[in-house]
Amino acid sequence: MITAIRRHALPGRSAGVLAVLALGAALAFPAVASTYYIRLATGIFMFGVLASGWNLIGGYTGYPDFGAAAFLGIGAYTTGILMVRAHAPFAAALLAGGVLSIVTALGIGVVLLRLRGHYFAIATLGFMIVLRQLAANLELTGGGSGINLPGASTFTGFYYWMLAALALAVAAGIALPRSRVGYAVAAIRENQDAAQVLGIAPLRYKVLVYAASAFFFGIVGGIYAYWFTFIDPPTVFNVDFTIQAAVMTLFGGPGTALGPLAGAVVLKSLDTVLTNISVFLHNVFFGALVCLLVIFAPRGLAEIVRGGASIAETIREQLRESRI
């Protein structure tokens, strides 16, 4: 499946205007909406950040990281520990969490990114599980009892933090493919060995992108910790975050700037609708949805939308390629 590496033009003026309008609407939203909807929107933003961040290493680079929640946990615990024991202000603790995520990613990345395919996936998952058990055993992290962060006075702050993180993540998604690093990882994604022959040193670039992805998971973790006040190992070192980010990215279109965000908006909204209809069966619907999605739209909605033919034709073509 070798496709030409698209040359990305800078977003046009109309796109820019739309972006400003969207941002403006988002900034004004809390003034008109009830707390429930603000909370819902924050949740959507959160998955938007996670999906966009995951897309950097999973979509653009083609290295699906199944342990990304490891960094969410690192960010959450760093923020928690600094706020509780060092009485650090939230902003500083959050930043520290992001930085520690980057540092950890750089360190473990040089080891893990030597692996490929399924092995990379399971090794990253293993890394997350190790961190989960470590957090459950250390005094510093409160062990299995977890950490209780100080309560925040209002909720709206979290909305804006998440929005800021989202803006940053989407910007990263736009910037990456247009940068040198972006070209390198695109080449790596298509054919790593060929890229290497052409003089691209894969490990360095993969690790950089991995660290960027880790940063976003880390800051989401920090915001999450302060928002939910209570964190413990199974809550933050949870593969569900990663899976949802991956599925949302896939749904919206991996390797695109807005695809992951679109995926996050649609799937999180769908999840909420299903929960309202039938609490008990909503997981069944979600599972069926993932299956259908993966079979009929494996390159995400973006690809279907972009293709010239009708939706049915595009799907049929994809199936022809992927089945025996």
Binding site: H118, I122, V294
Partner: protein, 295 residues
């Protein structure tokens, strides 16, 4: 024999016994991965279904689980064939992320349908001999686990014989090593794939039946066993039944000693650190033949 040695020996026995169960879980997973290049994240869910088959046969009709194992195997075989032929087959040549996510979606579906059908109540099978044990000198060997290990060896041996001595086995191995050549030879690929998956599902069902004897049974039990299968395959090597077996035993021992020396709360840390080390040092696993990966 002093106390420390006795504990060490008992841990070895426990580790091997648990490892046998892990091996049965892993053997089918390894088959699917090695032949179809599909990492079946729903494997644990199939194990769970097998466990429920023996549970219901035991509870409703008083069939001993060991005798019900063939039924579990047959039921899962019947489920596995169409599952592969109709569903998974659609994306079998797509990237591994796709099949990963598809099997993840299937796992979610199966688990939640089971939840809707049988509720989250935790079940267990308690046969008259359930708590029995044999004292072999300084160690106590639980009967049920011993039976599970013996069955595991038997099933693995059967599978290995099938793979190496029968025509079906040759066809499967041919398809695994070179799909195009096999197709040119007239081997019906889609059918072979489905058959392989069905056989793997059958072993998963049997593993589930064995598990129901000594472990709790509930709809969400799957993912833990999928992970076990994955680690076992990495340790022991892909596409090799003896490899999966060896990997299972090693994993059982490693976890048991980690739990004993460091505490039960360290078992995963050790297991996964070992996993990552093995992946880096000898990615093919102990008995594997090198991995295939998509370009």
């Amino acid at each position: 024999m002093n106390a420390a040695a006795q504990i060490a020996l008992q841990n070895a026995v426990n580790g091997l016994l648990v490892g046998g169960t892990y091996a049965t879980v892993a053997v089918g997973f390894s088959l699917v991965w090695g032949v179809l290049n599909v990492v079946n994240l729903a494997h644990g869910a199939l194990v769970m279904l097998g466990a429920y088959v023996t549970y219901w046969l035991f509870t409703l009709y008083h069939v001993d689980p060991l005798l019900a194992l063939p039924a579990a195997g047959a039921a899962l075989f019947a489920l596995g064939y169409p599952l592969q032929r109709v569903v998974i087959n659609q994306v079998i040549r797509a990237s591994f992320l796709i099949t990963f996510l598809l099997t993840f979606g299937l796992d979610l579906l199966i688990t939640n349908l089971a939840l809707a059908a049988w509720t989250a109540d935790i079940r267990s099978v308690t046969t008259p001999y359930s708590g029995g044990s044999i004292a072999l000198g300084p160690v106590t060997v639980p009967i049920v686990r011993l039976a599970a290990l013996l069955t595991a060896i038997f099933v693995a041996a059967l599978l290995h014989l099938m793979m190496t001595r029968t025509r079906l086995g040759s066809a499967i191995r041919a398809t695994a090593s070179d799909q195009e050549a096999a197709r040119l030879m007239g081997i019906p690929i889609a059918h072979i794939y489905a058959l392989t998956f069905a056989i793997a599902a059958a072993t998963a069902g049997i593993a589930g039946g064995l598990i129901s004897l000594s472990f709790p049974v509930f709809p969400a039990m799957g993912p833990g066993y999928t992970l076990v299968a994955f680690v076992t395959c990495v340790l022991g090597g892909l596409g090799s039944v003896p490899g999966a077996f060896l990997g299972g035993l090693i994993l059982g021992l490693v976890q048991m000693y980690a739990a004993s020396w460091l505490g039960p709360n360290y078992d995963n840390i050790v297991a996964f650190t070992v996993l990552i080390l093995v992946l880096l040092v000898r990615p093919a696993g102990l008995l594997g033949r090198g991995y295939r990966f998509r370009g």
